[in-house]
Subunit: 488 residues, 2 copies
Amino acid sequence: MNKRSLAVLLRARMRPNNSTKLAFSPLPNRSGARAMQPSSDNANKPQKDFEHVRDSMHSAISMNKTEVIDTVLNDFSEGYFSLCYENRRRLLLVLAKEYDLNRTQVCELIKQYLGVLGEEAQSAGHEEDGVLGSFYRIERNLRHALKPMYEGLFERLNMHPGGLKVLTSLRADILSILAEENIASLRALDSYLKEKLGTWLSPAALELHQITWDDPASLLEKIVAYEAVHPISNLLDLKRRLGVGRRCFGYLHAAIPGEPLIFIEVALLKNVAQTIQEVLWDDPPIPECEATCALFYSISSTQRGLAGINLGKFLIKRVITLVKRDMPHISTFATISPIPGFIQWLLSKLASQSKLAEVNDISQSSADRSGSAFRENILEPEEEKALMDLSEEFVAGKNGMERMLNLLTSKNHEWSNSAPLLSILKTPLLRLCARYLLQEKKRGKALDSVANFHLQNGAMIERINWMADRSENGLHQSAGIMVNYAYR
Amino acid sequence: MNKRSLAVLLRARMRPNNSTKLAFSPLPNRSGARAMQPSSDNANKPQKDFEHVRDSMHSAISMNKTEVIDTVLNDFSEGYFSLCYENRRRLLLVLAKEYDLNRTQVCELIKQYLGVLGEEAQSAGHEEDGVLGSFYRIERNLRHALKPMYEGLFERLNMHPGGLKVLTSLRADILSILAEENIASLRALDSYLKEKLGTWLSPAALELHQITWDDPASLLEKIVAYEAVHPISNLLDLKRRLGVGRRCFGYLHAAIPGEPLIFIEVALLKNVAQTIQEVLWDDPPIPECEATCALFYSISSTQRGLAGINLGKFLIKRVITLVKRDMPHISTFATISPIPGFIQWLLSKLASQSKLAEVNDISQSSADRSGSAFRENILEPEEEKALMDLSEEFVAGKNGMERMLNLLTSKNHEWSNSAPLLSILKTPLLRLCARYLLQEKKRGKALDSVANFHLQNGAMIERINWMADRSENGLHQSAGIMVNYAYR
């Protein structure tokens, strides 16, 4: 290959454009090939396929331990991936409802337990060891009785080569279904499977791997495909992300070879970057030995089916330990992170508050303005004034909040190209962003998903940066603001 | 190093002679070093050490999630390994008893459950989804309430670097204590920890590694130290075990690097070996390409704390798959295995039956001999006759069984050097050995531990081999008989 063609190849677009909601088969899809053969009863085929997979699922759950189960599990996995969305849904509901736990057995054990409790009360301390022994026995049995039958399928798949990958695909499908309909039995199954996956993917079982340009193309391809924060456009871009001044680390699991479950990208810098542009350079700004800061600028998960299982926390912890050991001159560990939920939260706040303000203005005297319990002073008086002083040519709106709302939703983020608008918006947006990150909670968790992730990991909010990400996406989700979380 | 010194080094004895019942510290024992310093209150030191470790254990269990827990876990681990046996025992009992589950909470949930059951009976099918939702919720809560508090310590240690190794050492100590005293709470803790370890060490999380002479000495040293079946005497012996005509495979876990949890040794042969001597050659008898049989001649576990967790089954399965792929000319997979419990079982059988026979002979007429329900004809009439025909110089005894007993327990296994005795004993010993392997069960499991292992794995008894292991140990445990289990 000549230099020219290589350059073209390196620049070719690599991100796949898949938007199907079905999890992909990790296995060669032999069933799919079979479906191409002419058949006299094509109309019944989906139903027959469904029944076949349901039968192999049943065998996989109920087969005796010593029987050879590998064929059955392969059958089930291949069959499952050949099913259409509707049949996968049916199958998962069968699994959730018909392979639930044995409630009669649970009740039986509960009665035994209450019986022992009664004995204990009567014996009042005598024979304590005997009573305790009964407790231990029944509690153990109760633990087992509370395991749904479908655990058998999960356990066996997990032990089966390729099975862990099948389970994550299964869960990805379950999450798709639950996003559309709330089915109690399926939600219970999902919560059970999630806990199981969390146990199997315990950080101790994961191998930290530094991803470099020397890794197999099949692995690097995954990095390009799954980079969720700052898309990698081509191989040349990827090569830079893995080159001098940068690091990339992934967690590999023995059962899912050649595919990191999660990976993190690190830039070695003089200081904590305040904009994403400082990080996405083509040539390293300083020699690595002068770096004092390791900046995490992207963390991406590759398995939709592992949603809610926090692998990132341990990945960050281990990367920090590793970098500290290998580069003692680096003492600062921080992120430059997006704030994905800020504008969505702000717009809804502005909309509701500007409506409340309007109602108040009409129905009440200004002295009584604070009367409404839900009314909030989102803008400071001088900010309100600056916005209302703007000419109607720029923006319409009966109050500052409505005007802010209109500016932020203007076409192509025009406000971000106007120096006067930027100077008016900067202070209120930064203040409201700080409030959003620090104070807005839902069930005790930070409302912003990325903030919640880092704060739960023990990081702190270090700095909020104005115009840190001027990309379309950055302006859209957080008015271009980014945040540094610091890890100690 | 000259050739001579190298030869000496390679032949030096390597097996350690440790017989302490304490699990070893996997960490540098800093506390031990501290203990060497002069101190004014040496008498109270063990008590203070105990209290310190108990406190760090308490912190490790009860600390808030986001707090930095690594220091506490390191503290606990180091502290634990610095404790004497008695204090470890005290600590483990504190853990088992004071960090058990919350029975009040379990009772509360049980009452809720019974309440929902009542509702369900009343509603008779209406509102089914609502009732189901309640079941799912309470069952989930019940599952969590049934987790003892000490699970927190286990979970956190498992996620902590080096923690899995600490947990296996902890369990090794627990097993030592339970071997001496049966404590219900500690047994419950052990059964819980065993199940946890089994989940974390799921075969999917283990990496199959072919152990070769190119592996680090620190890993090879472990093979020498832990080979349980046919001791490796020195490095030269080890080099042969890893050389041409042989294979060695181990299961590695990411959290216990450089130390296989279990390993298996394989010899590549023309036919299934009938004696262990055919396997322990110095030079390969055939070129590898002529082999048609992979013979598993040794499988050893390195972690006493993983007793009862069947990693071997999956190791054998994966090795078979691997060998089949790499060497398609190999189609037979079998073991040559010891029968560790045979002679112990046989001697007790012979003793009880010869006593029963004696009593019968005195009290009853010979026609009524079959009257005793426990009486068994262990020997065939011609075997009985051959034994009774032996001169009293050779062996004493009032009946064949007593004579057999006396022969088998004779000093230095003299019977094994006498051609006439060998020919008399061969038939009854082989027949009784077959019976022992195939028919003697305890709770549905084969009485012999090795037989139980292979039969549970799905293997079959292929052949019983006379004088297959003439070593002191072989004669002692199974009268020199070995067995081939065949894997399909």
